[in-house]
Symmetry: C2
Subunit: 389 residues, 2 copies
């Protein structure tokens, strides 16, 4: 996208020559908005960026994988500051305009020597087309890059939004997923950008879970550089921009879940007919987090007893005798009653698909919500039992 450059290199933070240091650079300071984790244990770079975002401006984002720089005390904050200073000096811009993010193991100090040599290298590699290198450099247990780009027109003028994310484990975003960057060439002010980002986040990153563990480093950062000269300043342009931003964030969030550690299936749970909005949310969330539901889906078993039992413990109003349950369009339970062997057989075929939609109608009210989640396989256990070894 015009005005944005990207790069990603192997600086030596990770083993095996994997890329581990990425950089986004804007030709001029971009309008910026960001959302961060609500976890009370917060990584050093997040502490730093929470301060910097107050200016509403950002020109460069340095991201490393392999080390989360979290729970590293005062030294961790000093290290994050040094990284941001080195980047600013190398690029010849103000230090306040450089944001830093880290992802990886919690509790180990940053290997500062790798940053001293890596930062000049990653800056030298900057290029308009190196989005893949950047997307690759920020991965941890992810199996592939996650990039979404969308284009639309306002009053005949074209504008674009591109999102790049990483995340595969410790995913139950509470504000934003582990690391996601959205760049756009629209002309928008920081307040409007934040409003749009919050709305998009609520329908995407805040509706996904892989393992229920909220990260200490969750960051969603949006940069707008006005290069398209498309102004987001009236109802129509705001609506169109929001819609495109929603799509980018939703697709990125789906990619994160689909690449969940050990995941073999992507599941959308929709809860309808809840008494309150909160009940709809709680029911979705409890089902999406249930290990018994997730392992049943991995086993391709339409185990509706586990789904309804999870709804029952969610704290929401539930009347078992009113529940309808559908897998895609197939009804398996109607008014609390199992629809028999034929319905079960048809459902079992649906369970073999890679993407499944489950709809639970509580039939108690008008509220609805959804959650995206993945199944739970032996590989999740394997990946996480061996993570630090």
């Amino acid at each position: 996208m015009k005005g944005f450059k990207f790069s990603g290199i192997h600086a030596g933070i990770k083993k095996n020559n994997q890329k581990d240091l990425g950089l986004i650079y804007c030709d001029k300071p971009a309008v910026a908005a960001a959302l961060f984790t609500r976890n009370k244990v917060i990584a050093a770079p997040v502490i730093l960026c929470k301060e910097k975002i107050k200016s509403g401006l950002c020109q460069a984002v340095l991201v490393n994988s392999g080390n989360a720089n979290c729970f590293t005390g005062q030294k961790g904050i000093e290290d994050a500051k040094i990284c941001s200073k080195l980047t600013a000096n190398t690029l010849g811009i103000a230090e306040e305009l450089v944001f830093v993010s880290s992802t990886g193991v919690i509790g180990a100090p940053l290997p500062m020597d790798k940053f001293e040599t890596g930062i000049p290298d990653v800056a030298a590699a900057l290029n308009e087309n190196r989005t893949d290198d950047f997307a690759n450099a920020i991965l941890t247990t992810d199996t592939h890059n996650k990039i979404v780009q969308k284009t639309a027109k306002i009053h005949g003028k074209e504008f674009s939004i591109m999102g790049i994310a990483k995340g595969s484990g410790m995913i139950r975003p509470d504000m934003a997923t582990m690391l996601a960057y959205v760049v756009t060439d629209v002309d928008i002010n920081a307040k409007e950008l934040k409003t749009a980002l919050l709305a998009a986040n609520e329908k995407s990153f805040n509706r996904i879970t892989i393992d229920g563990d909220t990260s200490t480093n969750d960051t969603l950062l949006a940069l707008a550089n006005a290069a398209s000269q498309v102004k987001i300043n009236d109802l129509e342009s705001k609506k169109l921009f929001q819609s495109l931003l929603d799509q980018v964030c939703f697709e990125l969030a789906s990619m994160v879940v689909k690449d969940g550690e050990g995941a073999t299936k992507l599941v959308k749970i929709i809860v309808k007919g809840a008494s309150t909005k909160e009940d709809a949310f709680k029911t979705c969330e409890t089902i999406a987090h249930s290990n018994l539901v997730k392992t049943a889906i991995y086993g391709e078993d339409p185990n509706w007893g586990r789904i309804t039992a999870a709804a029952g413990r969610s704290g929401a109003d539930v009347d078992p005798e009113k529940i309808d349950l559908f897998f895609d369009d197939q009804a398996l339970v109607l008014k609390g009653l199992w629809q028999g062997g034929d319905a079960e057989k048809k459902t079992a075929l649906i369970m073999k698909k890679d993407e499944i939609e489950i709809t639970l109608d509580l039939n108690l009210g008008e509220e609805t919500d959804f959650f995206l989640f993945c199944d739970f396989s032996e590989n999740y256990v394997k990946i996480n039992a061996e993570y630090r070894s």
Copy 2:
């Protein structure tokens, strides 16, 4: 124990000749107290027993495994009533005095023909010494029987408490674990028995988790037949009875966690120095439910970053720079700082043990709490992906 008889047989509900029908019988009506699941999706036998317990009396308990009789509609309740009537007729006692429990697959109707032939058989097998048969007949994915018996003296007179439990998956009791029966020969009234049971439950079954899924059938039932002639009627006797009941319930709860589906380790998390009681509970509970913590423990990895990250998302007051973290007596983090490679090596040795105690001191206040949980292995996934097939 004097006055109580037990039996357990294979009635044909489960495959492979496994025992699946158990019976407890008291020579005369016993004083009874019970706690049931708080899940809003409740199994038919639980609905029935919630009514019956109001009398404070019980003389027989029929328990089947292999089928939970849950989400079976009005027919499920009728079936549970027929089971209780058949048992009453066979034993020649009043139907109101017969309690029924079920555990197993949710959503399938009870195979009533197996109960018609099985109930006379299980009644004929009743015997004072067949506690093992009963304990065996109520198991599902459990790998062994769970029986605890304790004896003490009050004013020179001996009394006993015996507890029998099952539970290995869908374990996050919210009032009581899946199925646990406590019989005692003390002379106590129903109100006092309930009070003592509530107190013991709060420190045992309400402090354990295997997979975070609260069962639809959780039942903890206590029966007292006064056969020892030991009256529980003054401060001293109440204190002694409570202490013995606490021990029985705690040991049973520990056995349930230790036999958790796929579990290889038993872990006690103790949270100290919390600002409020609620914070202490929330922090313990969040850590005990974290899949990342549980898989790290399975991998024998003292991954303290995951433990502190779970504390951070628990909702409790947490100041990362005040946290101390111990594995058994080994400090790994003090005032938020990792204690280095030597401490890590010593902790890694502790992680190889079958039973581990983790203490997290928040250093913010005086409140403390604990939770028992197990690790999370590939076998949990395997057991639950294949459960219905």
